[in-house]
């Protein structure tokens, strides 16, 4: 059966890229994030304690990237105004630590658009892929997240 919302035309939005943003990672922002999630690990909280670890200084907790305000490209679907949204989940891959003082460039693209039949009617799955790249061009992390609209 043909998709109701994720039509061939709608699928042309796959690959759409949001504006790249570069943000300097402040020590205080890492510490506030660690405090908010209740993680007292010294590598996320204290430059003095983290200095003697193999990281050589404070690094960011695994999901800190969420605070860097990625610009999510707008996905247009013919669902009217009354659809509901859900956060489906995230898959992260980590390559390099994000360090205090780094300038991280964050960019998000639409990686996939799918539709499936749910109990409440068609459900649309929007997968975004956000890449976090440091000032040396090293990819620190890739985050794939799925938003659900129904």
């Amino acid at each position: 059966m043909a998709n109701k919302y994720v039509t061939d035309e709608a699928r042309k939005q796959i690959g759409k890229v949001g504006e790249a943003r570069t943000i300097e990672v402040e020590r205080g922002a890492i510490r506030r994030f660690a405090e908010a999630i209740g993680d007292t690990n010294p590598i996320f909280n204290s430059d003095r304690d983290a200095r003697h670890t193999r990281f050589g200084g404070m690094v960011a907790p695994p999901t800190f990237g969420r605070s860097l305000s990625a610009a999510i490209p707008d996905v247009k679907l013919d669902m009217g105004e009354s659809f509901r949204g859900l956060d489906g989940g995230s898959d992260w891959e980590y390559f390099e630590p994000i360090r205090a003082g780094d300038r991280i460039t964050v960019q998000t693209k639409i990686a996939d658009l799918r539709e499936s039949a749910g109990r409440l009617g068609p459900m649309v799955f929007i997968t975004t892929e956000t890449t976090y790249t440091n000032q040396f061009g090293q990819v620190c992390a890739i985050q794939r997240s799925t938003a659900i609209r129904y």
């Binding site: 506030r32 908010a36 999630i37 993680d39 007292t40 695994p62 999901t63 956060d87 989940g89 995230s90």
Partner: protein, 149 residues
């Protein structure tokens, strides 16, 4: 984690090993702090009237906060000498502040790839009734007792 917490080495770990669990007791105040720190100000996470109007039982935890809790479970397990390589979470059920949640996991595979000593884990966050509201998976690189450096 504290500096004194045990460092796991690859050789210490067997399939079936249960990871040290991580208990959290999130309050509405913590949700407000998380909203501020992450920039996610969707009102269902701190405004009870708004949440009720949206057919929710009350304010609910950010999925992303549960993602962060499971991240802590894994960075605690990896320890200072390890590295969290992959982390996946699926939000299947709601959790509300004022109710404790526990992050748990177990080792499902260990292998060496590209010179790295890797450990795959099944992970989840469960509520006080033992329901897995947030299942997931993770891969860590652990140090080896046999590897130089």
């Amino acid at each position: 984690m504290s500096m004194a917490q045990k460092q796991f080495y690859y050789e210490d770990v067997e399939v079936g090993l249960e990871l040290p669990s991580l208990k959290k007791d999130p309050s509405t105040q913590q949700l407000v702090k998380y909203a501020g720190a992450s920039g996610d100000f969707y009102q269902i996470h701190y405004d009870k009237d708004f949440a009720l109007k949206n057919h929710l039982p009350g304010v609910i935890l950010h999925g992303a906060l549960k993602n962060a809790f499971l991240g802590q479970l894994m960075t605690d397990f990896a320890g200072e000498l390890g590295w969290l390589r992959k982390l996946s979470v699926q939000y299947r059920g709601m959790d509300q502040p004022g109710t404790p949640v526990t992050c748990k996991g177990k080792v499902i595979k260990k292998y060496i790839d590209g010179g790295n000593h890797l450990v795959d884990c099944e992970i989840w966050l469960e509520n006080a009734q033992g329901e897995k509201t947030t299942p997931g998976s993770a891969t860590v690189i652990l140090p080896s007792r046999h590897a130089a450096g």
